[in-house]
Amino acid sequence: MGERRLRTVKQPGRPARPRLLSVAAGNGGELRLTLPEGADLLDGLAEALSRAGARSAAVALVGGCFSRMQYLTGQPCDDGSRVATYGAPTPLEGPVALLSGSAFLGLDQNGQPIVHCHAVLLDNRGKVHGGHLPPGVCRVGAGGMVVHAVAFSGAALEVRYDAETNYPVFHPAALAAAEAAQ
């Protein structure tokens, strides 16, 4: 299949350079966690990974169940302030299965742990859903939630305000040796 023409959209802010940001990181340890029934997925994950010594990590959500949860999907933003925004949350009553998901642990603008998570879900009628999972509303159900994570050493993901998109988003950052040793 040949190259497709790329449809681009005009962002509210000026294009920032460079267009690709990247840092090399070391492997700061591999972790397998099972969040218990009753835990909040995002808050529980941020707390558990932090307590396990990870400041930033790549997370694979392997599977599990929610007793109740909500997710968000993207849609065009009509007021011009942003290209895309989130629609109203879609609440699902449990049991909701998490089929697969991706997440990152990083640091917010106050240096606190924060998780950005997207997942594929299966509702209690067998329908597949998917979207962005917000903190505070995704309650882990019976059997817990299994995640695998790899922590980064020498680098972190830090939330910074991005004037181009008018969103605070994760940016990769190399850590000084003293900071990385913390």
Binding site: N27, A58, T73, A103
Partner: protein, 179 residues
Amino acid sequence: MTARKRVKPARKPAAAKAAPAAMPGRAPYSLGEDRPGTLATLVERGRYGRMVLARVRPNIDLVTGVERVCAAHGITHAVVRSAVGSLVDAALGYGEGDSMTLIAVEGPGIEILTMGGEVRPDETGRPVARLRGTVSDSDANVYGGEFVRGGNPVCITLEIAMQEWLPDLQPSPERQERN
């Protein structure tokens, strides 16, 4: 906004490749040229190396963006460890090669839900990414497939962690014959 899904058949191959004839009592296809009817597993020994954390900014193509990040770090072999982000539109393919069929999902604001895949060098040593995964549109419909090169512009951001794969130097990959 109404999310629209357009499924367009891609161009068909000029002539369908003849499928190997099934052999009684044997696998219907062969990967081991020396022993017809048997499957060979290619084994590449190696170890994992550096990780790379990246942010791809808006309007950059997902596949070529990942390849450029790898090239910037001198990485020719890698696997995706995690990826979270959004696309202006998504172009997902299913099927192989010339018979690949396109699923076009119109955004903006298509969420990348999961993404896996690897980076391998082409014959010139340039890193080439093959990435597959799932996305959702504004109505929470979920689609899956291979992210088609040049068809997946990043919307707000793509966060991705890749890990380098360092294959051992060997004259040729081992073939593990099937018992």
